[in-house]
């Protein structure tokens, strides 16, 4: 059975709901501290929260940590949600930066996102529009030029990536991106918070399913 490690930095606070969501797929999932080894893990989930209080910039301190270098070298599939996405950009594993929302407010709401054509393990969901919650202050994606590795955009319910569907000012409505090799995906929405009926949506399961498929090879 595959083992997924949910990495916990000081300030991470989504680790247990993520473990619960993963376990519902019948895989082994456990919390792994940021100073532990990752050799026994088949897949890595960077969970949300506020690593190291997000001092300097969201995800900056965690992005510079040793475990991120280990994760980069490991070749294992990675999914970073929310702060996990911020950490991936700060670690230079995914391009761009996540700036404070243009509204300058913390945004906590349900959004729709549509999976675009991409080279990551999420490509099998291409064209799907998913209802998933977001909860962040720094989700405003910015890059010097339009990135190539977009995997998801904020959209209307009908899949239109219109400006009015953009909750945080992100360039081109970008909600998620992958690394150049497609092995790592980062997104601001929280798939682990839309896995059970009582959460209000189960669309997040599709994301986790695709991630686990990559893990199982």
């Amino acid at each position: 059975m595959s083992t997924i490690g949910v990495i916990r930095f000081p300030g991470t606070n989504n680790e247990w709901e993520t473990v619960r969501a993963l376990q519902s797929f019948g895989v082994e999932a456990k919390v792994v501290e940021h100073n532990q080894q990752i050799d026994d893990l088949d897949g890595i989930w960077l969970a949300g929260g506020f690593s190291y209080g997000d001092v300097l910039r969201a995800g900056a301190i965690a992005g510079a940590s040793r475990i991120m270098k280990d994760i980069s070298r490991s070749g294992r599939p990675v999914l970073g949600a929310c702060n996990g996405f911020q950490i991936l950009t700060e670690a230079d594993l995914i391009e761009g930066a996540l700036l404070p929302n243009t509204t300058t407010r913390f945004v906590c709401k349900w959004i729709y996102m549509t999976i675009t054509e991409n080279d990551s393990y999420l490509n099998e969901l291409q064209g799907s529009t998913l209802r998933i919650p977001i909860a962040h202050f720094e989700g405003n994606f910015w890059s010097e030029s339009t990135p190539e590795n977009i995997v998801a955009k904020y959209s209307t319910r009908d899949g239109d990536a219109a400006p009015r569907a953009n909750p945080n000012g992100s360039m081109d409505n970008i909600a998620g991106l992958s690394s150049n090799d497609g092995r790592m995906v980062g997104m601001m929405p929280h798939p682990e918070r839309s896995c059970f009926k009582h959460q209000g949506s189960t669309d997040g399961r599709k994301i986790i399913q695709a991630f686990l498929k990559e893990v199982h090879g």
């Binding site: 510079a64 700060e90 930066a97 700036l99 404070p100 243009t102 300058t104 405003n140 910015w142 010097e144």
Partner: protein, 326 residues
């Protein structure tokens, strides 16, 4: 000097001769020549070279212990040292505690007047122009020394001043002012260079205010070397001296790039406009990081500092930074 492989690369200064030995090393010969008024007054004082080398080495060793990196590698003989081969920065750095010399003449301040705080001046090394005072903005604009290195040099000079002020006062002497030169190695690291002796500083007896330095020569005040010897004897009289390790405060100023949205700045701008302050076009929020460096004795710490600025303190995609030193 007889076995030197490259005596052809020899540079004659006013009081010293420098021989390039290799990419890494030079030999500096302390001669008995003495000059003043930019070479207008010249003489030779037997034993001066030896005396200057002894004091200079002593002071450099004290600075090394205080965590200030110097060019000194070893004493080779009574009048020669082996030092790092550096590109000497084209500005001389003068630190003043008390008004004297060109400062008094330039600003009409009476010699002996204590300055509110130590004061740093830069002079461009140019014989044709007679080494004039130069504004630090001009130093930067003319490309003589980049701004961050100039600031580093200034902070170093003030460190040196703190150490020497204490050291000389223990010997019953007042450090009026002194001149320093700095050089950079091939990697761009800054080291204190040249010599620090009674030729390059003003030192007065704390009680009698008798001048013990090169002003004796400039102003014909009697036996020049006798004054130099008093300085050395007084410092010898202190016995072992352990200076305090000098800290360096680094100020990293982080600014958001203009091409990047700055939502916090936007909100602040609206608030400022609402408060009735007109004429505001743009407000951008950045941050300042103050780092106190306890040990900066290895000049390579500056590389490490730049590395952490690029890799951790800033996100170079959306932010720029500048370094300040104090």
């Amino acid at each position: 000097m007889n076995d030197s492989p490259s005596t052809k690369n020899t540079y004659e200064g006013k009081a010293k001769t420098v021989e390039v030995l290799s990419d890494e090393k030079v030999r500096i010969i302390f001669t008995d020549r003495i000059s003043a008024g930019d070479g207008a007054k010249l003489d030779t004082i037997p034993g001066k070279g030896k005396m200057n080398l002894t004091l200079s080495n002593r002071l450099m060793e004290v600075l090394e212990e205080a965590g200030i990196p110097t060019h000194l590698l070893e004493r080779e003989s009574e009048t020669t040292i082996i030092a790092r081969n550096l590109r000497i920065l084209p500005v001389e750095v003068v630190v003043r505690n008390i008004a004297a010399g060109s400062f008094s003449r330039r600003y009409g301040v009476k010699e002996g007047e204590e300055l509110a705080q130590p004061f740093v001046e830069f002079f461009v090394k140019d014989d044709k122009l007679h080494d004039p005072l130069i504004d630090r903005d001009v130093v930067v604009q003319m490309g003589l020394v980049p701004r961050d290195k100039l600031e580093l040099v200034q902070a170093r000079a003030l460190q040196v001043n703190r150490v020497f002020t204490d050291y000389f006062s223990r010997g019953g002497m007042v450090l009026v002012d002194f001149k320093l030169e700095f050089g950079e190695d091939k990697e761009g690291h800054i080291w204190l260079a040249d010599e620090i002796s009674a030729d390059s500083m003003r030192v007065w007896d704390a009680q009698t205010m008798e001048k013990l330095d090169k002003d004796r020569f400039r102003k014909d005040l009697g036996d020049v070397l006798a004054g130099y010897k008093v300085i050395m004897d007084r410092l010898d009289g202190i016995g072992g001296y352990s200076p305090e390790k000098q800290r360096m405060e680094v100020v990293v100023t982080i600014e958001p790039k203009h091409s990047v949205t700055n939502p916090g700045g936007e909100v602040t701008k609206r608030t400022l406009l609402n408060s009735g302050m007109g004429g505001i076009k743009d407000v951008r929020l950045g941050k300042t990081v103050n780092i106190t460096v306890e040990d900066s004795s290895d000049p390579k710490w500056l590389d490490k500092l730049n590395q952490i600025c690029k890799e951790i303190l800033t996100n170079p995609m959306v932010e720029t930074y500048t370094l300040g030193f104090r």
